[in-house]
């Protein structure tokens, strides 16, 4: 029925099967929309946040999707700036995943603020001292860049490509994509860093506060680095999941291995830096504020296990797997590594948001724990479900994976 839209030389499942799949995910979207409307119409009393937990699941989700969406800017950087030619076979998909991550982040932010209709104040009445201001500007601009990077792919649709104007537009956009990739890297370095700065500048919160280099706390650099390091792992994870769902090999092993190797070394050096940062904070920064390490990890939920889980399980282990040839060539180990890496960076963002809120600061304060309401959960899953639909539609109608035809010849 929709065969005229499907790229030449590839096979897709029958439309009813595809539609059934979309309907299932669509039901999840509706669940998310219900939660979103409740939050918008009735207010944030629909959440389980409170005055001690002003930042919670949503802010974590924002930080996490932007971190894992970092695969887009870093893969673009490797492909267009460093000229890693092989990565042209995965950069489209990295951009697609990135677009979804960033749209999701902005959607969640739109629900998270108490007065969404005043959201434009952050641009109009911008406070240049606030890390959130930098996040808002760079994040919005970068989403624009990602959409520009995504447009040429859309223009490659069989029917759109028949129109000479769109064909030429797509071709010309490809030619200048390095400029947008460079812009994306510049913007990403700032908003990824600023998201780290959001927690790092809080000198009233010794758990997340870090020393500065000029105006930037160390978390600024760690967040940028970790997004560049872990983001490609998420791109690989999404590629592998797509391959499982479609039952096809979509990207050649040498492409995955190259990205995995670069990601592995990036994670390796990041996690050494993170460990050093943790040591310095525990030995100098926190004691100067009257705290020792145990003060931050003496809770039932927030014990030291979380530190080990982040640094060892979600850091050193995936790094060591990915930097060894045997590790990244073994499918099971590769899966393990990209899953652990995604878990590690998400856990880091959780800790920097939620543990910061939970840990007591006043000597007579107690830990405050929190569990999200269904409205928070559904609205957090909403962009994920929307992302699945966008990826599915893109995969079905656009040549997202340039090697698909070669890897899956039709008889």
């Amino acid at each position: 029925m929709d065969s005229a839209l499907i790229p030449k030389g590839v096979k897709r499942c029958p439309l009813p099967v595809f539609a059934a799949g979309i309907a299932v995910v669509g039901a999840v979207v509706l669940w998310g929309v219900a939660g979103m409307l409740l939050c918008w119409l009735k207010g944030l009393n629909q959440t389980n946040m409170n005055d001690s937990y002003g930042f919670a699941l949503w802010i974590w989700a924002d930080l996490a999707v932007i971190a894992v969406g970092g695969g887009a800017f870093f893969t673009g950087f490797l492909r267009y700036i460093i000229n890693k030619e092989e990565l042209k076979n995965i950069v489209n998909f990295a951009v697609l995943v990135g677009v979804n991550c960033y749209v999701g982040a902005l959607l969640i932010l739109g629900i998270d603020v108490g007065q969404p209709l005043r959201g434009w104040f952050i641009f109009w009445h911008a406070n240049v001292h606030s890390m959130l201001t930098e996040v808002a500007f760079c994040l919005s601009c970068y989403l624009g860049v990602l959409i520009i990077e995504y447009i040429p792919l859309v223009l490659e649709n069989r029917q759109i490509d028949k129109v000479p104007f769109f064909h030429n537009l797509g071709h010309n956009m490809h030619e200048i994509m390095a400029v947008f990739a460079a812009t994306g890297v510049f913007l990403s370095c700032f908003h990824q860093g600023s998201l780290g700065g959001v927690a790092g500048v809080l000198f009233g919160r010794p758990f997340s506060y870090r020393e500065h280099l000029l105006v930037w706390p160390w978390t600024f650099f760690l967040f940028t680095w970790s997004a560049a390091a872990f983001g490609p792992c998420f791109t690989i994870l999404c590629t592998k999941i797509t391959e499982v769902i479609t039952g096809k090999k979509l990207v050649k092993d040498n492409v995955i291995e190259l990205l995995a190797k670069i990601s592995g070394w990036m994670i390796f050096f990041y996690i050494i830096a993170k460990t050093t940062d943790t040591w310095y904070w525990a030995a100098h920064t926190a004691p100067a504020m009257g705290f020792e390490l145990n003060d931050f990890y003496n809770n039932v939920l927030y014990g030291k296990w979380i530190l080990y889980a982040e640094i060892i399980v979600g850091g050193f282990i995936p790094a060591l797997i990915l930097i060894t040839k045997a590790g990244r060539r073994n499918p099971l180990l590769l899966w393990t590594a990209v899953l652990l890496a995604t878990f590690g960076v998400c856990l880091n963002r959780w800790v920097m948001v939620c543990q910061t809120m939970a840990a007591p600061v006043l000597p007579f304060d107690k830990w405050v724990l929190y569990s999200p309401s269904w409205q928070e959960v559904s609205t957090t899953i909403l962009p994920v479900a929307l992302g699945i639909i966008v990826v599915s539609l893109s995969y079905r109608y656009l040549p997202v994976f340039p090697q698909e035809q070669e890897l899956n010849p039709i008889d």
């Binding site: 005055d51 002003g54 000198f203 007579f364």
Partner: protein
């Protein structure tokens, strides 16, 4: 007419040895500032209390048991380099540290409810309006006309009853004055405290009682010279304008965090 350019620094000194924990300050504050309340106030984590009274003990058994009540308004921090923890992070300049009075204000119509300021405040002095304010029938007639009620989705906090300052200044201007007498601008909690535990005034004015009590050292970020005075979380560098006084060492010690190493080295 002479224009006053002298910088004021309004602040508070709370004598914890006088505070009985009666909560009058909280009631007066809510009434004065149109602070909304819920039908069921069981969950204190989303209740709005611009000034909140904490109860702390020395954790000793009878007969050595001792307790103390710590009223905690907004600390109106000066922070480091003039940036209070909350002021510097607000992305829309909805909160401001007024250099002429030292009062940290909250602009309700500017706030878009991101709650970053709440995350930044170590004192939990900032509150989010999770609901629209609903007053029991007839009570709206008793709201203060000088303070705007806040809508759902914005952050609010203690303003040191700034509207009282504005009213007092209006009166002074009409009378041809540019300076207020000490008693002309007092917060509602100060006036409501039956034990006289709260003292309010200009920390920069040596004639004001609050200055005499605290003896702030402006060369060292306002650290009190009075050995019985202290500020909550002094080491974080929030540079608060609310001071506490107590003769009891354990109370003063409770004002800030100390690592076990520091405690043991002090004992030796």
């Amino acid at each position: 007419m002479k224009v006053d350019t002298k910088q004021k620094k309004f602040g508070m000194a709370i004598d914890l040895d006088k505070c009985t924990g009666c909560g009058s300050c909280m009631v007066a504050c809510m009434s004065e500032n149109n602070v909304p309340f819920k039908k069921d106030e069981t969950n204190k984590l989303d209740s709005i209390t611009w000034i909140k009274v904490y109860k702390v003990t020395n954790d000793k058994k009878y007969p050595d048991t001792d307790l103390c009540y710590i009223p905690r308004p907004c600390m109106h921090c000066d922070g480091q380099h003039g940036h209070a923890p909350c002021v510097s992070v607000c992305p829309a300049v909805a909160t401001d540290n007024d250099k002429s009075t030292g009062v940290v204000s909250q602009i309700y119509t500017r706030c878009f409810g991101c709650r970053y300021c709440m995350a930044a405040c170590p004192y939990h002095a900032r509150y989010f309006n999770w609901w629209d304010p609903v007053w029991p029938e007839g009570m709206e007639k008793y709201l203060s006309p000088n303070v705007s009620p806040r809508m759902r989705g914005v952050v609010e906090k203690c303003s040191f009853c700034f509207h009282r300052y504005q009213l007092a200044m209006d009166k002074a201007y009409v009378e041809g004055r540019r300076e207020l007498r000490e008693d002309e601008y007092q917060t509602s909690c100060t006036q409501a405290c039956p034990a006289g535990a709260i003292t309010f005034g200009d920390l920069n004015n040596p004639k004001h009682t609050v200055h005499k009590m605290v003896q702030p050292d402006n060369k060292h970020h306002g650290k009190p010279k009075n050995p019985k005075a202290f500020r909550l979380l002094e080491r974080l560098g929030t540079n608060a304008k609310v001071y506490y006084l107590s003769d009891r060492k354990w109370v003063r010690k409770l004002g800030d965090n100390q690592t076990p190493n520091e405690e043991s080295s002090k004992k030796h």
